[in-house]
């Protein structure tokens, strides 16, 4: 027997067991999605405040009031922390990983359903702790999402006391949550694959989620150690990061970035996974270079552990480390180039259908290319010396994170919404959502590249009082207007999402005619997912196979007539 049924015998009854403390991976995935959406409101709201302040400094922000330097620092801290740890991770890993991994490998649930529920509730606790930190005396953490020391090491430097401690606790709980989740992903992907599902027949998303899980599991440890050291410095009088008492502030940066860099790939890989699932379906062509993508993913995962000090080129670290880390950083662009080129090659001579999932996937690909290329300037120590700490960096990482989180994430939503909710979303509203978002996003961050090249440093609450930056101010205005457009542009999606959930056209099992196993079950799936365990005979991207009955052949189809073993 190779599928593990959830440990409960029948479908649980009672509102709490079914919808709140559920151990069903599909419910838990939706819980992650909801939590990340709520946190995204806070994260997005903070970006509104930040952008307004930068465009029209010292003005009173509509709906909020004026912001001083301390509030600004807290805002950028919360924006970064929330977006990376409480939106990107829960959305790309918690939601899509949980929903799709069991379905895609042919299992009825994750390997450890109760651990799965615990991982969600731990994240919920972490989010609560973070929100509480907004209201404690001294306010929330204000030392950046990177929490550099000595700024973060002594309350007297930021004026923030318990806010910073709670921030450490919230992040630590988030780590615990994803450690639990990551173990679940790995064991499910390794052990619960149904018969015939070899590793090289796994859908790309599963490879990406598993690699992300491994990378996270192995990289988070040093930062856990560092977080404990930071907390002890703040509350127990230790001196890990205090040079005057035998400590070393640079140690924090090493510990943070040893995790911090792999972390951004933990976020990026699942986003790619979603794009890689969508593209073949909407070109009706096999994915180009499946094996190369797998090997590149593993290579990228491994390399991600030896590039971290490119965040520290100007930190005062030993300059002799600059060359080795520049070299490794340039090296890591290779596997990512392979992956993006494979996506482009997958488009070549395909029957491209620009439905909304595909628009978002392509939009993500296009914008990520800009992000990747600009990373090369930052990965080389020589050019980074000029650009570190400027808006060029800000634009670069938004051009990598935003494509995978936003464009990749929405590609996933539009693609799998029919499976999750049994209804189709409105395509017209989806296209409006895409075009406003795509144009507005570029409108925010292209100007910021220019601002950064003009030398303007980041993390400063207003720049208009500096003569040399005055000419750059109009760029900030353009960015802010675009940012507001971007936020407003989410309304079509919100309307579409909730309306379609109740009134959308009913979806069949496989509205996109896709091959992977989740499309062989009902929309939404029955309980258990697979009344009969599926048997896989083929690769996941057999589209337009010459001589086949249709332009798609499901993974569990016995032959090219597309007849499934367990019946249609």
């Amino acid at each position: 027997m190779n599928t593990v049924n959830a440990t409960h015998d029948g479908h649980p009854t009672g509102f709490l067991r079914r919808y709140v403390f559920s151990i069903d991976h599909k419910v838990i995935a939706k819980q992650y999605m909801t939590l990340s959406a709520l946190m995204a409101i806070i994260g997005g709201g903070s970006s509104y405040l930040i952008r307004w302040q930068l465009a029209w400094p010292e003005s009173s922000i509509p709906g909020w009031g004026p912001i001083g330097p301390d509030n600004y620092n807290a805002l950028i801290t919360l924006h970064g922390t929330i977006m990376v740890f409480f939106v990107a991770m829960p959305f790309l890993l918690g939601a899509f990983g949980n929903y799709l991994i069991p379905l895609m490998v042919g299992a009825d649930d994750m390997a450890f359903p109760r651990l799965n529920a615990m991982s969600f509730w731990t994240l919920f606790l972490a989010s609560t702790v973070l929100v509480i930190s907004f209201f404690v005396p001294g306010g929330p953490a204000a030392a950046g999402w990177t929490s550099y020391v000595p700024l973060a090491d002594k309350p007297v430097y930021t004026g923030v006391d318990w806010g910073q401690n709670l921030w450490i606790l919230a992040v630590a709980l988030e780590f615990a949550s994803f450690l639990m989740g990551g173990v679940n992903f790995l064991v499910t992907g390794l052990n619960l694959r149904t018969r015939g599902m070899t590793l090289m027949r796994l859908p790309m998303l599963v490879w990406m989620e598993m690699t992300a899980a491994v990378v996270f599991l192995l990289s988070v440890g040093p930062l856990v150690a560092g977080a404990i050291m930071l907390l002890l410095d703040r509350v127990a009088g230790t001196s890990f990061f205090q040079p005057e008492r035998g400590g070393d502030p640079l140690l924090w940066e090493h510990l943070f970035w040893f995790f911090g860099h792999p972390e951004v790939y933990v976020v990026a890989l699942p986003g790619f996974g979603i794009m890689l699932e969508v593209i073949p379906v909407f070109t009706r062509k096999p994915l180009f270079g499946y094996a190369m993508i797998v090997y590149s993913t593993i290579a990228a995962g491994l390399l991600s552990f030896i590039v971290w000090a490119h965040h520290m080129f100007v930190s005062g670290m030993d300059p002799r480390l600059a060359s080795p880390f520049s070299i490794t950083t340039i090296m890591i662009s290779v596997p990512f180039a392979i992956i993006t080129f494979a996506m482009i090659a997958s488009l070549w001579r395909g029957a491209i259908n620009l439905a909304s999932p595909m628009l978002f996937a392509l939009g993500g690909l296009a914008t990520f290319l800009i992000g990747g290329v600009t990373g090369i300037f930052l990965g080389s120590a020589a050019s980074d010396i000029y650009m570190h700490g400027t808006y060029f960096v800000v634009a670069h990482f938004h051009y990598t994170l935003f494509p995978v989180l936003f464009f990749g994430g929405f590609a996933g939503i539009y693609f799998w919404f029919p499976k999750m909710f049994g209804r189709m979303m409105n395509e017209a509203l989806a296209k409006v959502h895409f075009w406003i978002s795509f144009l507005a996003f570029n409108g925010v961050f292209i100007p910021l590249f220019l601002v950064g090249l003009g030398g303007s440093p980041r993390r400063i609450y207003e720049l208009s009082s500096y003569e040399i930056f005055k000419p750059l101010q109009p760029l900030h205005v353009v960015a802010t207007v675009s940012a507001i457009a971007l936020l407003v542009g989410q309304l079509p999606f919100i309307v579409n999402f909730f309306y379609s959930m109740v009134r959308g056209e009913k979806a069949e099992k496989n509205p996109w005619h896709a091959n992977t196993l989740e499309w062989t079950v009902d929309s939404p799936p029955t309980h258990p997912n697979f009344p009969t365990p599926p048997r896989v005979y083929r690769d996941p991207y057999e589209y337009s196979v010459p001589g086949a009955a249709a332009d798609w052949i499901a993974q569990d189809a016995i032959d090219e007539r597309g007849i499934q073993a367990a019946g249609v």
Binding site: F112, L186, L190, L199, V224, A225, M229, L232, G547
Partner: protein, 201 residues
């Protein structure tokens, strides 16, 4: 329609690949231990580097009580023995022995904590606190984190002991003892490194 390509060319005839043979719970515990290796390894690695930078912490470390530390090492190593013996007894389906060895492991865990608590108390009374300097920061930090892990391990072992006392099904109990044992042995291994680093150098 063409006669078709042999679509079974990719199908697996035999049973699944060897990875499927490993119990899910075991892989899970090892992945968890891998991340714990990173946590303690980072702390230990950083401590070693600081020690080199400092020319060793011989002076600062003079006041650690190495005899108590050595005794605690003996305690923990013995508890590893009793833990693995509990597993061996479970494999032989000997309920009485399983209970006995689990109880011994729990008790030895408490002894370890007791000695550690005594150490902390005397050290703080003599004026050596986490704030005393970088060596003591590491001492309290690392042994404290380790101690928290010991507490966690004792809790798990207690749960198993209770399960053994009420005769849970053997398969489940044996598996859980094995997994808890892996964790407990790991806690022992960490101490095997902490002891010489903090107490003997």
């Amino acid at each position: 329609m063409s006669a078709g390509v042999d679509v079974r060319r990719g199908a697996i005839a035999a049973d699944q690949d060897s990875i499927h043979q490993i119990a899910p719970g075991k892989i899970a515990i090892w992945w968890f231990l891998a991340s714990e290796i990173m946590v303690f390894g980072a702390l230990i690695g950083v401590y070693v580097l600081f020690s080199f930078a400092h020319g060793g912490f011989a002076a600062e470390g003079e006041h650690v009580q190495w005899r108590l530390g050595a005794f605690n090492t003996l305690v923990l190593v013995t508890s590893s023995l009793t833990m693995i013996m509990a597993l061996a007894s479970a494999r032989k389906r000997n309920l009485q022995q399983t209970r006995m060895f689990l109880l011994a492991t729990v008790l030895l865990g408490f002894v370890f904590l007791g000695v550690k608590g005594f150490e902390y108390t005397t050290e703080i009374r003599e004026g050596f606190t986490p704030a005393t300097g970088i060596f003591w920061s590491f001492y309290f930090g690392m042994t404290g984190l380790h101690g928290l892990h010991v507490i966690g391990g004792i809790a798990v072992n207690l749960v198993l002991l209770v399960a053994a006392l009420s005769s849970k099904p053997w398969d489940l109990l044996e598996r859980r003892i094995e997994f808890a044992g892996l964790y407990w042995h790991f806690v022992d291994v960490v101490w095997i490194f902490l002891f010489p680093l903090l107490y003997l150098t």
